[in-house]
Symmetry: C2
């Protein structure tokens, strides 16, 4: 009822830049808001190429993100530009392809060695900018089967083909982000829409007097009908009025319904890390595929996935970004999967700071560094609690158990089925298995079959080595593929699956989906379940309502729809084993260690993403240990879905 | 995103009535939805007059409220009708005035003795309907100075003059109420907008998947700027989309902002008891007057008060009323002030039941019976907690203390200033003082001056004797005025105030506002404060931020704006005394006794309308005594403003 906008602020920013901050010689031709960035179009890029600190200084002074673009008129022809690039970049960089985004003035170079293309201290980047007027954007091409890069390439090509749409989207969302605040923030409210007192369909609405932001919008792997979706049906959520959608990582229970928002009118930005964007698209398309094969009606189509792609705005860890007139977003490493992030929201010029952990691992894994704990400020912490009531075994113990389970099964001529989510657990287990094969801890003839989207997902990991653990990163940069081994074999087609199931050779099968909720893992289960020599190994959390959970909870007779459409009762005679300790989630000890280490200390802790006993147990533990954790006066909240908590603003 | 309506239900109801329930001879000409009622227009009222049970039976069968109207064509002329009324009604009834509402087909008769006009078992009502086609509506005219009935008469006249508008409003809101539900109720949420963890600006939003209802919408007596208002500025509250506003009683902190909603587009019904309607209008106009005199900008004008009047729908206690497709409202006596009600919401055909106590007194007073405790069902109780941490002295002890304080002050030639809210405390104290004068407990020459809107408010009490305690009611029906005495004098004009303040006669002054937040009580304070012989007596709750509270908390130098507009420092030398025990609120013991007696037992208790220490203390006490109270598994909620609690529906 009180809302008004102050348009003048937008103009002020522009005028300030024009008149004060830029040397005249750069010849500014235009200034635009493009998404969260201020784009300065210039006619003389040479000076900036020689003094790249100018742009950095402006960004610092304005506390805004700046991008320098060149006036199209001064850009050299594509042919000339390609020539210059080939002259400047050493052949060891391994350039595979050069493409042009004429709308944004970017030249996209796909190459094996990203660093060599940019040059030391971005020297080649600056030279190319000065000489051609094109901004360099280098994409890493990892040394893998080109088919594994298929989706990634399609994403890039699609964005290139829709460059004009993307520019107009960036401009309109930029105007909205920088519209200016006229009223102080009279409230900051957090409403759980999904993933509260449960695991699955994560979605959190953050409302201020000025704006509305959605943190994650996932699908429920164990849900059906309405419980598949978070509660997007409430009055205060209108997709067309949302300011931003933030996705913390690329698991379906956190991003599976982003395209659904576009179906219902959302046209704003989706903030993600780059790998989250790529993985998200891959897994959503995979989900549609699985649902269509299973004769389920998907909640959206490829059309909405495409719309979403054009609306993603990738951010780096630590990059402070305006996403609404009163909200700045910064991502921090969450250690859960590649590209996973904690979201830090700075609201209303110092009024309030929220950290939403998303799923996080406060512990080292083979693949990733552990989660960040230091933030500029934090008053309210929204923390996942999946393992809030349990500790997990140490990683080396878990690895030993996995290897010995595999050996034992092989020695009785059985096969090992490991259902894995394509992202995260798959790569982690692959690293363990490849390592075991290299160290000859498994029989030499042991084949490791990977099925589902694991290969493509692994290729995306190889595209972003800078986000992986030191050890894995350094091997990738040495042009090794730490996920590969001659015994690791990609499964193609249904016939091959049957052959593997029937063969006498020892085999470990990594297949999606990780909770046996569809996908090839279920097909393998059907073929392997009756033979008691085989073993089913769970290495990750099994959400309520999924087939994985039901088997884990003791069900041994499963009714499945057979290939011919008829119902079929499958008896689970195979050994069923759950190996804890591989989880990408923090266990109880790690959750508490995170709280002991987080700086500064939050005033409010809201627990989500856990079943009730995990949440209540963790809340109780935190209360008991509050002094030891340095949180003597913390307020604990354990809301249910559709509860709202008013964390800041006027009373 | 999922909403849809089922129009067919509306038609079904109408058809059912037409074809099955009515005898053909009544000659139905039309059926309309008019607000919560189904209006059946007939051409032959004789049969219904002879068999009034027909209408009752239909209401029961349909579980809908029914009103029978006559076809305008068959109504007798006004002159003839007046003649017939005068023939049928005995002269002792004391008819004062007869008016006609041609749109609704009602004849409004103002008379001294309501019962005599209606006749035994409504026999005269039925005869008039049969013979003239007009429905009788009798308004009581109490034996008071006609000036005291001014506002009341204006309300009635205004509604008469806008009868066509009112009919069209009733029809459009009727269509909306009976629009039918297509989806099950996927949620019931309660959001505190004001009066949570505080006293003042009460407002509660109840949302279901289908509808949105506001329980009270008060102004903060101790607030200024934004804190004057409840939080109507949130996204999920759009005045034009609200289904209903329910007002539990006529204190400004519960209804002071109802007209404000009309300023911002609300055009739906305001459900109240009849006395709440009358008192509400009186006090809102009084508030506008005081604010204008104090050079404050009122949040609305008389225009919006008028709009509100036309949109009120008065309900009786115990009358079950559809207010939305999925919500039925029933009012129950709250014992707080005349017309005060607890609101019972029955949601979604058995899904959930909410009882909101509003302000309530679970204890007898001179004026009113104690609050109701038996409800058809209740899962969630929203309970006021003003005195959640305190017991109050017994009423007789308080009365003795008041009389002795007055005597003591008179004996030292001082005057007694008692700031009172015009509604409730004023009448209660008047009853005490009149009784003391009658029983000669006070010097015979003691004058009781009443200033502000108290006289008019008292006249409204005399209009509704059936809602007062047995004792007071029976005296009124014997044509006595229990609030009157020859020493009780109405103050008129500023000069008279000054004369009273300067005079040497013993005087008790009852003046509004009750928390010294404006009005004549403040003028008296200015004139009486410096003389230490005088006494300031508080007899009611003083909300945070009011002048009353500040003085009670020890402030003895008050800066006031003088008549000439200049600032003036007033020293409080007079005695300041707070006499507890007159409160219209339940004290701690009474709150607990209410919980021990309520039937059935709620599953959730939400505490509101109390300062934090009162709320926390009460919550703790209830937890400790939960077994004794018969509430062993109750869930306690102590939300703050803008917190939401999800009480029913899917998870």
């Amino acid at each position: 009822m009180f809302r008004l906008y102050k348009r003048s602020e937008v103009k002020n920013i522009v005028l300030t830049i024009m008149s004060q901050l830029m040397p005249k010689e750069v010849q500014i031709s235009r200034i635009e808001f493009e998404g969260p960035e201020i784009a300065i179009y210039i006619r003389n890029p040479k000076i900036l190429a020689e003094h790249p600190e100018i742009a950095r200084d402006i960004a610092k002074k304005l506390k805004k993100r700046i991008v320098i673009r060149t006036d199209p008129a001064i850009r050299k022809s594509k042919k000339e530009t390609e020539e210059i690039i080939k002259q400047l970049v050493p052949p060891e960089a391994g350039i595979k392809e050069i493409k042009f985004d004429e709308v944004l003035g970017e030249v996209i170079v796909k190459a094996h060695k990203v660093g060599l293309v940019y040059g030391k201290g971005r020297s080649i980047y600056n030279k190319i900018l000065a000489e051609t007027g094109w901004r360099l954007n280098v994409v890493r091409v990892p040394p893998v089967d080109p088919r594994d890069l298929d989706t990634l390439n399609k994403i890039i090509d699609y964005m290139l083909s829709q460059s004009s749409y993307r520019l107009s989207f960036l401009r309109s969302s930029g105007e909205r982000i920088h519209r200016g605040v006229i009223f102080e923030n009279r409230y900051v409210r957090i409403t759980g829409l999904g993933g509260f007192m449960e695991v699955g369909r994560s979605a959190i609405l953050v409302e201020t007097g000025e704006s509305r932001v959605l943190l994650d919008v996932g699908i429920n792997p164990g849900g059906d009908g309405f419980s598949l979706y978070p509660r997007l049906d409430i009055e205060q959520l209108k997709p067309e009025e949302l300011d931003a959608v933030i996705v913390t990582h690329a698991h379906l229970d956190h991003m599976g319904l982003v395209p659904y928002l576009f179906k219902y009118g959302y046209r704003g930005p989706v903030y993600v890390t780059k790998p989250t964007r790529d993985l998200m698209v891959l897994l959503q398309l995979d989900l549609l595929d699985i649902m269509q094969r299973g004769n389920q009606k998907p909640p959206y189509t490829q059309l909405e996935v495409k719309k979403m792609i054009l609306h993603t705005i990738p951010l780096e860890y630590g990059e402070v970004t305006d996403i609404a007139p009163d909200i700045k977003l910064t991502f921090y490493n969450a250690g859960h999967i590649l590209g996973s992030a904690m979201a830090h929201l700075h609201i209303g010029e110092g009024l309030h700071n929220i950290v939403y952990t998303g799923d996080f691992k406060f512990g080292r894994t083979r693949l990733l560094d552990k989660a960040n704990t230091v933030f500029p400020r934090v008053e309210t912490l929204i923390m996942e609690s999946t393992y809030g009531d349990r500790d997990q075994p140490r990683r080396d113990v878990a690895e030993l158990e996995l290897i010995s389970t595999i050996s034992r099964t092989i020695s009785r001529k059985g096969k090992i089925l490991i259902p894995v989510m394509a992202v995260g657990r798959a790569q982690e287990i692959l690293l363990v298995l490849v390592d075991a094969l290299n160290r000859k801890l498994l029989p030499q003839e042991t084949k490791v079959y990977i099925d589902g989207s694991i290969r493509e997902v692994t290729a995306i990991h190889l595209t972003y080595p800078e986000l992986l653990s030191t050890q894995v990163r350094s091997r990738i940069l040495r042009d090794e593929n730490p996920f590969d081994h001659e015994n690791v074999i990609r499964v193609e087609g249904r016939q091959m699956r049957e052959d593997i199931a029937k063969s006498d050779e020892p085999a470990v099968i990594l297949a999606t989906a990780g909770m046996l909720n569809g996908g090839p893992s279920v097909e393998y289960l059907r073929m392997l379940a009756s033979d008691q020599r085989n073993t089913l190994v769970f290495v990750s959390y099994q959400a309520r309502g999924t087939l994985g959970r039901r088997i884990l909870d003791g069900e041994r007779e499963i009714t499945m729809v057979g290939e011919d459409g008829r119902l079929e009762v499958v008896k689970i005679n195979m050994e069923v084993k759950s190996i804890d300790g591989f989880s990408g989630h923090s266990d109880r000890r790690q959750l508490l260690a995170f709280l002991a280490n987080i700086k500064p200390k939050p005033k409010n802790i809201i627990l989500n993403h856990g079943e009730p006993q995990a949440i209540y147990s963790l809340a109780e533990t935190i209360r008991k240990k509050s002094k030891y954790l340095g949180l003597p006066d913390v307020r604990m909240y354990t809301p249910s879905i559709l509860d709202s908590v008013h964390v800041a603003g006027y009373a």
